[in-house]
Symmetry: C2
Subunit: 406 residues, 2 copies
């Protein structure tokens, strides 16, 4: 039969990243596209022990329905973890989700009516843009540079659009890998408070610091220090610190918001896996997560340095990038006029993949950028990946030349 899908479903395609990942699976293509952590560092033994303890200690209640808000002992532990990051909350300010992707979806669900405005960085997280679109939001980009959102543009757009919230990734962002300055952090918090607008702070990567001594306070903690009364909603996840497979993220917010999100979650899926949550709670009891995060961050740092050194050797003309201070991504700027999605086609022919920049822009600008992930590809393969990228860039330049001559 012919199906009549909803307006949302008709516009909702599979994500570009996902399609690239599919294209490259099992083909020998070296993928710098996905946002995947390095499998090799997953603490499988510790996680296995944690699940074993859940069943050994938990009895039959482990398998019964759980609370929509999540397993209480895990939320208690998260309270302590948040406190160590300058966020002072109780467990009633926390709700567990199936990863921060679900946090973004549920927060959008309880806040966005069609045509409500959301302000975002340019560029910003692709899958957040997809969620906001699925709620028919009016997505407006705020001018963003390497220090964060530009305050004058933000203020103009707060006034003009009266947005429902401002969505930001201030630390080691996806895709640009950047870090906001303190001035921009405090500035954005102050402006949003001035105009009575919520901030939605997404922080999946903040703990993957390449220099332990660096400190980037969350907007949530800044708002609290300044005596704010709940202007910031904060989400993070265990996907990048423990592993994506444990499928557990969380929202920290004012209780009023948490209660609304809990109602929405009850309707969406009753609750996330409580076995995963119980296992995380056990894990945090015996596992040195801080030490593990240091190990992983050190390795990611080394991989990033290896990749950038290989890229520098190539002496590509007019191509620049940031050296990330943490996280999982580098943001490469190609010469003006380059179209990274066309480059990608050539790159896949050569056997290497990345994500073209424009998908990270609400207005699809930024076509002369590409996002490169440095955490998932085995370091021994990086020379070959850069070699292939080099060939693709040369082909692209040749083809452009041919076109311009014609």
């Amino acid at each position: 039969m012919e199906y009549k899908f909803s307006t949302i479903a008709r516009t909702q395609d599979s994500s570009t990243v996902r399609e690239i990942l599919k294209l490259t699976q099992g083909t020998g293509v070296l993928s710098l596209a996905g946002g995947l952590p390095a499998d090799a560092f997953f603490p499988v033994e510790a996680v296995a022990k944690a699940y074993e303890q859940v069943f050994r200690l938990g009895g039959t209640t482990v398998l019964q329905y759980g609370l929509t808000e999540g397993y209480i002992p895990l939320r208690e532990r998260l309270t302590a973890m948040m406190a160590s990051q300058g966020i002072s909350v109780t467990r009633d300010n926390i709700i567990m989700t199936t990863g921060s992707q679900q946090t973004i979806d549920l927060v959008s669900r309880v806040l966005l009516d069609p045509q409500n405005t959301v302000l975002v960085e340019s560029p910003t997280y692709l899958a957040a843009l997809q969620v906001f679109k699925s709620y028919d939001a009016n997505i407006v980009s705020v001018n963003t540079d390497t220090s964060g959102m530009q305050l004058d543009d933000l203020e103009a757009k707060l006034k003009e659009h009266q947005p429902k919230f401002v969505y930001v990734i201030p630390t080691f962002s996806n895709p640009a890998g950047g870090v906001w300055s303190m001035e921009r952090r405090t500035g954005v918090v102050e402006l949003c408070r001035k105009y009575g607008v919520l901030i939605f702070e997404d922080d999946p990567y903040g703990r993957l610091k390449f220099d332990e001594n660096l400190n980037f306070p969350s907007l949530f903690s800044i708002d609290q220090q300044q005596g704010g009364d709940g202007h910031v909603m904060y989400t993070s996840t265990f996907s990048k610190t423990v592993a994506p497979g444990v499928r557990s993220g969380w929202l920290v917010a004012n209780q009023t918001i948490v209660r609304k999100v809990a109602n929405a979650k009850q309707s969406a899926d009753l609750h996330s896996s409580s076995i995963d949550q119980r296992a995380l709670s056990e894990l945090l009891d015996f596992f040195d997560l801080d030490g593990h995060i240091r190990t992983v961050s050190t390795e990611y740092h080394a991989r990033m340095l290896r990749l950038t050194s290989l890229m520098k050797e190539r002496q590509w003309e007019g191509i620049s990038w940031n050296e990330a201070l943490g996280g999982m991504f580098m943001w490469v700027t190609l010469p003006e006029g380059f179209r990274s999605n066309q480059l990608l086609e050539l790159a896949i022919q050569e056997g290497v993949a990345f994500v073209p920049g424009q998908v990270f822009y609400a207005d699809l600008s930024g076509s002369n950028h590409m996002r490169i992930n440095f955490t998932h590809t085995d370091p021994s393969l990086l020379p070959e990946a850069v070699e292939r990228l080099d060939r693709a860039l040369k082909k692209y330049a040749e083809e452009s030349l041919v076109k311009s001559v014609r």
Copy 2:
């Protein structure tokens, strides 16, 4: 600050059942309200072994991101399980969800625009009504008797409303515990095909049969036998056959629908717990699930008989109920004019809880019904539960008398 929630969030309250469960927790109230399976029968040892195997056999990939559609070997096993129930599909017709609640949410998301109509049984599953409302659907009840939806009323409403789909629980329904006749099953499938309308078949309880020899073919299998081309979407779950804690349900549907649901799920949470799914796949390899379901069903049958025999002894005037042929619920009809939500207040004072009938009706009619769960309360406590219910009924009658005299 003052939050401006979305229209949906402002109407979305915590469910009645959930609030009753909260009220009764730790108070000594005997709850016949929740839809919980009996903890005592959860196959904890087998499940624990399954998780252990996942980590022992799986290596690091166990902890990496998984497919949105779900773990392939589990979907392969489900294909075989579905075939044994007369449903012939491939794994591409199956997508895994975080329980059938999420299936209902995602199916609604890809099909419903605001004010689209959904036809439902009266009464029907409360949390499905909540989902449909959250998509601003126009929910229309079809006249329903103990044999299922009435075909003449269904046809009239298919013509009048041109609904997006018809949501049904044909076997051991929640809340009424009933079973549709073969005539109604085939009739509904034929009518929906005639009018080009999808059927959404929810089947969480179908395998909990009290008589093994009874056979109630799914609408999906009937549609297939009649050569239909994808008029039925079918959802089931492991919550009632293995345990709710494994948080895994699935949708079976035409590939076009499955792909749309996958796009929606990608935006909603990327994927459900793959550790839970891998464990279920391992479990199905060595565990006698069919035998386990027989054991549990036999016990549930005994509990239902015990409860109804205790109720019969009371010789309540004008109160009737169905004797369930399977599933987890009994549907009690009180005398005309009784308001079961007022009775519930008295019942909780006496120390027993149930769910008042009207919450299961799209139009909030049916106030002289109550839903009683017979699976979760320990059988030794059933005499006391009925005793308390008896006291509440007597109080209610007295108070009604006083009011009517005044």
